[in-house]
């Protein structure tokens, strides 16, 4: 007689004493501050992605109008506002005046008219300032605005594309795992073949052959994600199909559809959702990888990956430009991983099952 649980055997009449209730509440682990920080970050990213068009942000495609001016001025080592510069530049300091005289130039007038109140913070590859909260990129575009716009791509690629893959893959896995036999054989052969492509290479192949567009990037991610979900949901369907409650449902005369969707799916859903959270993180990283190969969304649409790739070109001179999107991607991936991890812990989903 194996001891099925260390739990104590309660009174046969009264179901549960009142203290059992408080006990379960106490047992329920509190999620902790870090978890809520992670949730907060994800919420922020989602908020930015959704409301990006109506947020008062700077242009994501046009450089700061003052960047040309600022760049010119910076060449002379001059700082200050445009008015100061324009009015006082000649008299500001003998050294600067001398330099400008040597160069035979003045700040171009047209750039000044386009830029009534410039500072050096407007130059390309700038550090953060009140004007550009996260600085500017190598084309003088506002990094903050592009990060927010990039969130949209990240979430489309992550949440939506992976979501499509999840739904497809889970269906395949459920059907294959429940019916077994020939159905399973055929379906899993396809899944195995799809898994025989390394994911990034398959994504590369799809985008390379179909052409570079946001849709194709999403399509590639969805296709790449599907077999993983199929395999995962099949293996958990197999374990749950063997559980006696499935046999009990059959004894009751439940139809196959009812058993699959009412008995098995709620159980398979947990590991699948846990895997989904991880896969979202993986997809966001994959977009970055594609960007490095020049295969992500075409410019000038900003994505975190393309921003990192852009910034990488100036890493030796302005490491800050590449740091910002890198950190944002890292923190987002970390947040998704953390949420997924706590989710698994909470619902006791085995890591190896993923």
């Amino acid at each position: 007689m194996p001891e099925i649980s260390a739990q104590t055997e309660p009174d046969p009449i009264a179901t549960d004493s009142p203290d059992a209730d408080t006990e379960t509440v106490a047992k329920r682990k509190r999620m902790g501050v870090t978890f809520w920080i992670a949730i907060g970050w994800v919420a922020l990213v989602v908020f930015g992605a959704i409301f990006q068009p109506i947020l008062p942000l700077q242009s994501t495609t046009k450089p700061d109008p003052c960047s040309t001016y600022a760049a010119t001025m910076a060449n002379y080592g001059i700082s200050g506002t445009a008015a100061q510069l324009y009015n006082n530049s000649q008299a500001d300091s003998p050294r600067q005046a001398q330099q400008m005289a040597d160069a035979g130039t003045k700040p171009p007038a047209d750039s000044i008219s386009a830029c009534p109140n410039p500072t050096l913070n407007s130059k390309t590859n700038a550090f953060p300032s009140a004007q550009h909260w996260l600085g500017t990129d190598s084309a003088g575009r506002d990094t903050f605005a592009r990060i927010v716009a990039g969130a949209k791509v990240a979430l489309l690629v992550g949440l939506v594309a992976v979501g499509v893959g999840m739904i497809l893959g889970t269906l395949i896995g459920l059907i294959a795992g429940y019916f077994r036999g020939a159905v399973e054989g055929i379906m899993m052969t396809f899944v195995d073949v799809a898994l025989a492509f390394p994911a990034l290479i398959l994504a590369i192949a799809i985008v390379a052959f179909r052409g570079q567009s946001l849709f194709n990037v999403c399509l590639a991610i969805a296709i790449v994600a599907t077999p993983g979900f199929a395999r995962l949901s099949r293996s958990s369907t197999l374990t749950f199909s063997e559980r006696e409650f499935v046999m009990a449902a059959r004894v009751m005369g439940a139809s196959h559809r009812r058993i699959i969707f009412r008995e098995i799916l709620p159980n398979v859903a947990l590991p699948v959702v846990a895997f989904y959270l991880l896969a979202v993180a993986i997809a966001i990283v994959a977009e970055g990888g594609l960007a490095f190969l020049g295969l992500s969304v075409p410019p000038p649409t900003p994505s975190w990956g393309t921003m990192i790739q852009d910034g990488y070109n100036v890493i030796n001179d302005s490491p800050f430009v590449v740091m910002v999107p890198s950190m944002v991607m890292f923190v987002t991936v970390l947040a998704f991983n953390y949420i997924g991890d706590r989710f698994r812990e909470r619902f006791d989903v085995k890591e190896a099952a993923l």
Binding site: M1, P2, E3, I4, S5, Q7, T8, E9, P10, P12, I13, A14, T15, D16, A20, T24, R243, E244, F245, M247, A248, A249, R250, V251, M252, G253, A254, S255, R258, E263, P266, N267
Partner: protein, 339 residues
């Protein structure tokens, strides 16, 4: 080779199983002979105890009766209906009449559904009653199974202990008003004191709802406690069947006798000499011994046991045994061999 025959079958039965064979593929063209030519029957209101060690095919028999999966060959008839020949739709319609309770109560309950939903599910599947009537019925059976419906219905299975989960399983089986319940090792995962609760509950429910039970277990004492008729199985074959008093009081099959002698009893033995009446272990069901399957471990085995499969024979009073040299014989039957 002969076959065991059906001399022990009776007429007025509710459920009757004849020549049941269940085989599973074991890879490389081999087969597991889980149940071989088993015939057994149950009268209305009777409890049949099916007993044997693990691997003897008793659980497979229970599932084959439920057509989960359908047996390789043989017939199962319920109340005159040949179950094995039913179409899928007709079989589904028959399901509410026959229910099952499993060994592991925790595994038998869907962890993601509330107890109220679990017990109501059979009613939902069959569209029985209005929602209010369903709730009333669920409350009734939960209550009958010793669970407070107000507390239990809104909770999840993991909030209950093993014994309580088994009560929920009993309630779920009862909610469709079945005629037959197959209990597959319903108490073997439970502690002694809980086991007593569930056994008492099953007896009460049997009385209250007029059930016919097939009670599958490996514990002989438990089987004796609940059964009106006992069938002993060994390696996919029926060894012996009869009333509990006959089978336990004067076992006719050497295996039954050995099984009974192996049970440690909660009373002091005198001396501490070797007590195991049987040596060796169960042979593989992939390649079972010829003739009588018990012969490889039987202290009385003769040549004939390897060649001819013993036929089920009457040793009096509805006590049947499949053995060439039964330990009990009818008073007027000549001895076929001496030990």
């Amino acid at each position: 080779m002969s076959e065991p025959g059906t001399a022990h079958l009776r007429d007025d039965t509710l459920l009757s199983v004849e020549h049941l064979v269940v085989e599973f593929p074991a890879g490389r063209g081999r087969k597991v002979h889980a149940v071989s030519d088993l015939s057994i029957d149950i009268r209305k209101g009777e409890t049949l105890g099916l007993v044997g060690e693990s691997g003897c095919g008793k659980s497979t028999t229970g599932r084959a009766i439920m057509q989960l999966p359908s047996p390789t060959s043989g017939s199962v008839s319920y109340d005159g209906t040949e179950v094995t020949k039913l179409s899928r739709a007709d079989l589904r319609r028959l399901r509410p009449k026959m229910q099952m309770i499993f060994q592991d109560p925790i595994s038998s309950l869907n962890p993601r559904r509330k107890v109220g939903d679990i017990v109501a599910e059979p009613l939902q599947i069959w569209g029985i009653g209005t929602p209010e009537e369903r709730v009333a019925k669920v409350r009734e059976v939960l209550d009958a199974c010793g669970l407070d419906p107000d507390v239990a219905m809104g909770k999840y299975p993991h909030e209950f202990s093993g014994g309580q989960c088994q009560r929920i399983c009993v309630a779920r089986a009862l909610v469709l008003d079945p005629a037959v319940i197959i209990c597959d090792e319903p108490v073997s995962a439970l502690d002694v004191s809980v086991q007593a609760q569930i056994l008492n509950l099953l007896e009460e429910m049997k009385e209250r709802y007029g059930l016919t039970l097939v009670f599958i277990a490996h514990d002989l004492a438990v089987v004796k406690n609940v059964s009106d008729r006992v069938a002993v199985m060994y390696l996919g074959k029926l060894c012996e069947t009869g009333t509990p008093d006959d089978v336990y009081g004067s076992p006719a099959h050497p295996y039954t006798a050995a099984l009974l002698a192996s049970i440690p009893k909660p009373e002091v033995r005198s001396g501490s000499e070797e007590s195991a009446p049987l040596s060796g272990e169960l042979p593989s069901p992939i390649d079972p011994p010829s003739g009588c399957r018990f012969r490889t471990r039987c202290p009385y085995a003769q040549d004939i046991c390897a060649q001819v499969e013993p036929e089920v024979r009457d040793v009096g009073n509805g006590h049947f045994v499949a053995c060439h040299f039964p330990l009990v014989r009818r008073p007027n039957e000549p001895a076929t061999a001496t030990f």
